[in-house]
Amino acid sequence: MIQAHLSLLLVVIPLAAAPVVAILPRGRLPWAVALIVTSVCAVLAGMQLWAVVHDGVISYELGGWAPPWGIEYRIDAVNAFIALVIAGIAAITMPYALLSAEKEIPEHQIPLFYSAFLLCFTGLLGITQTGDIFNVFVFLEISSLSSYALISLGRKRQALTSAYQYLIMGTLGATFFLIGVGLIYSQTGTLNMADLTARIPEVLALKTIHTGFAFILIGIALKLALFPLHLWLPNAYTYAPTVITVFLAATATKVAVYIMIRILFSVFPDGFVTATPTGDLFIILGLAGIIIASVYATYQVDVKRLLAYSSVAQIGYIALGIGFASASGLTASLIHVFNHALMKGALFMAVGSIIYRIGACRMDNIQGLGRQMPWTFAAIVVGSLSLIGVPGTAGFISKWYLVLAALNQQAWIAVVIILIGSLLAVVYMGKVIEALYFKPATEKNLSVKEAPMLLLAPTWVLVVANIYFGLNTELTVGIAGQAVQVLGVVAK
């Protein structure tokens, strides 16, 4: 029974729980429900991935209406993998959320906070589950609207302007996406993505299709925070409540990556990316993003903001892999989606623990805290190593595949820039570590204690995962390889 409705349950459970959580009394009950919901979803997502890997594609017809008329949930290795990343990160974030949210969010808003969180979670999961491109738009809006609300809950007043900025940019992106979908619908008469795959080749020469493609591309690129459309991201990540930063950094942009890959390689025929300037565009913007965002990161004094710029740079790596449009490039992108979620999750959580203790995370506030909070500090060190791509960490695996993909295409400039990106990561994370450990502690910081267990444990789950997936890549590389096969990208 569960097996048959797995795909639907993943969306329905959090969607149904969201309004319930909103009306629960204050206290810890809303959190408990959210915790249970996310954990259940994580288990279901794991089962779904297992089912897909072993039995092949799952097609679920919503309400029994056959596609392409009804909405179809169509799960293959690609989206099952992304769904697991989202649900898994949510489940790990929730234990962390309890204390962090109590500290950063006014008590009377706590139930609403968890309700909005679950809605956002629903939206993100929905995007991965659905096989209907209009449905993607709907879920995209569910997740976006709720994330605007979540970001605006941040403690500082700038949270409001950041949320507003994101609202404007996000809405632009969604509108572009919708226009694109409309244009394509006008020529193909279908919204089912599998169906689109079959029909688009017939009309591929039409200008309308190309225009629609361009609209969709830009719309998602905004959501993806692809350089130079990333302007909303640093503010949003900096001023959002820490839990939300952790969650969004690890999942929201990743879902956009998924949609991008789905449309570029699955909806549009193989070779379209390389036949049009799309591939080159991704390569150029990816490379520019890696360098420019990393350089920006080195100048930041707020650690959260620094990590946000680093995220923009990491998205550059993912875009680069997409731009290569080869099997190895896409494998690298998908692996990095997973690995980046692990490293940024761990880093933002560790920084969140510092904020929990001292209420800020500017370079001059955190001086000498490494000695007071050794476990948090160690988490930051391991997270940084993974971000840099030191062997033995998950980050190395991503870099390895990405550089191999670049070498395969003889894209020497890309190789050099990827490696320079790693060095810039050494510089900016080095600054954080130096401030934490090698600067003398201020008077005030000497009395700071290590973060509570409830914050440390989830952080360390991710830290250990960073090392585990650096040494055992059966899951990541295996699934990513299978996903690329599903997408039908020819090995190059």
Partner: protein
């Protein structure tokens, strides 16, 4: 004990020691006992492994396989055995030395010091025993990271600046060039495992081989080839035991060792010789030998002078690797050991002088010889061994290196080696000469000054007498070195 267990134990023992050191941080005597006991065991272990290895026993172990075809694996071969033997034995001597040094200096953060030191040794053994480039690279990077807190130990602005240069150059070259070289090797051959005779022959277009070799040569920043040598003088802000073991032995030798491994087991001597892979690059090493010696002459700070001397001596090994003939490779491999024992003696002496007199400059040493005869005697022996004079071990490695230059017909390079020996005399010998024969400036009399503490003296005596012993009995190292190049 089984072979796997021995390998694991040698690597894990220092790691556990690091944990135990942290656990016993409130009891300094116990903490130092942990260091000494584990260093003793590691020394015994490497000797046992070396004995069994020379008896023909196989040591191999695969721990994990992160990527298909790329594993974390260990296998002991002759060159790695030689390196592990040097590092393992000298850790014990250095531990004895550091306890005296750190205590008489009242250094802060001694727990961090001893713990990071132990981790660094574990990484060094990992490098020595690794079976493929990936494993080697993993421990190579970990070694850089674990020695960073040792370089910045003092915590001053100068130490932090030194640390930044250290990390910047070592990580920069390794990620930017070394990793790239590894990736290209993987792409071309589909394997990273070290093999007798190399893996590139027949797979790599000889036209590109020079470029790939250059990636390794400059990417392995720990070999301190110019222009990427700046990290080594920068690292001299560390306490002297660190400079002695890590920046004269473990870290720098890890660099040249890696380069030798790449030369012998990735490229293969035949491939290099028949395609003239290193024809142009060899002059970079020759230039480094001479330039670094000249810079050393101009340095008044004793540790800086020794650091530049190390840069120069490392390039002897690099030069030997690039000559790639049998004798040259034997000379290069032996120089790992010979230079290690001589240079560590010099650093020990420099540290002893600093502990006893707080003097750092060569020009201040006039007349100190009578007050500290053992220290300066050891310094003299170390210097003579570095210069390559009998009856000290340094002679053998230079002999084989010179032989290699003649063998390959590179007489210009032989001249470089000769000139360099003269330069060595010029910057090293004046130091003991000043100490023994010059009068102190402004008529001072060193009546108050005594020799450094006993543990320091003991360590110096051990290493300097080993320098002499190695002249008469270089056999273990010679045997290992010639095993590494058998088949050529």
């Amino acid at each position: 004990m089984s072979a796997e267990l021995l390998i694991i134990l040698t690597m894990l023992l220092p790691l556990f020691a690091a944990l135990a050191i942290v656990a016993t941080r409130h009891y300094p005597d116990l903490r130092e006992a942990v260091t000494l006991v584990s260093a003793t065991f590691v020394a015994i272990l490497v000797v046992i492994i070396a004995k069994q290895f020379l008896n023909g026993e196989e040591f191999a172990l695969t721990v994990a396989e992160p990527l298909p075809g790329i594993s974390i694996a260990f296998r002991i071969e002759a060159l790695g055995m030689l390196f592990a033997l040097v590092a393992g034995l000298l850790w014990l001597v250095t531990s004895i030395y550091s306890i005296g040094y750190m205590r008489s200096h009242n250094e802060k953060n001694q727990t961090r010091f001893f713990a990071a030191f132990a981790v660094a040794i574990s990484c060094t053994i990992g490098i020595a025993f690794s079976d493929n480039l990936f494993t080697l690279f993993l421990f190579y990077e970990l070694l850089t990271l674990s020695t960073y807190p040792l370089v910045t130990h003092a915590g001053t602005a100068e130490a932090r600046r030194g640390g930044r240069v250290y990390l910047g150059i070592l990580l920069g070259t390794s990620i930017g060039l070394f990793l790239l070289g590894i990736l290209i090797t993987w792409l071309v051959t589909g394997t990273l495992t070290f093999q007798q005779g190399g893996i590139l022959a027949g797979k790599l277009d000889p036209a590109w081989s020079g470029l790939l070799y250059a990636l390794f040569l400059f990417g392995i920043g720990k070999a301190a080839i110019m222009p990427f040598h700046r990290w080594l003088p920068a690292a001299m802000v560390a306490p002297t035991p660190v400079s002695a073991l890590l920046h004269a032995v473990a870290v720098v030798k890890a660099g040249v060792f890696t380069l030798l491994k790449v030369t012998i087991y990735i490229f293969g001597s035949d491939f290099i010789l028949s395609n003239d892979v290193t024809g142009g690059l060899i002059w970079v090493a020759a230039a480094t030998i001479l330039l670094a010696s000249m810079v050393a002459m101009s340095k008044d700070n004793l540790k800086a002078r020794l650091a530049y001397s190390t840069v120069s001596q490392l390039s002897y090994i690099v030069l030997g690797a690039m000559l790639a003939s049998k004798s040259a490779l034997i000379g290069a491999s032996m120089h790992i050991a010979m230079h290690a024992f001589s240079k560590i003696t010099l650093f020990f002496a420099a540290g002893a002088i600093y502990v006893a007199t707080h003097k750092k400059l060569v020009s201040e040493l006039n007349g100190l010889g009578r007050a500290m005869p053992i220290t300066f005697g050891a310094f003299l022996i170390g210097s003579l061994s570095i210069i390559g004079l009998p009856p000290f071990g340094g002679m053998w490695s230079k002999w084989y290196l010179g032989l290699g230059a003649v063998e390959t017909g590179q007489l210009m390079l032989l001249a470089v080696l000769m000139v360099s020996s003269l330069l060595n005399i010029a910057y090293l010998l004046p130091i003991p000469v000043r100490a023994f024969f010059s009068k102190p400036a402004s008529g001072e009399h060193y009546t108050e000054i005594k020799e450094a503490p006993k543990t320091i003296l003991l360590a110096m005596i051990v290493t300097s007498s080993t320098c002499a012993l190695l002249f008469f009995y270089p056999d273990p190292f010679y045997q290992l070195a010639s095993l590494a190049v058998r088949g050529y």
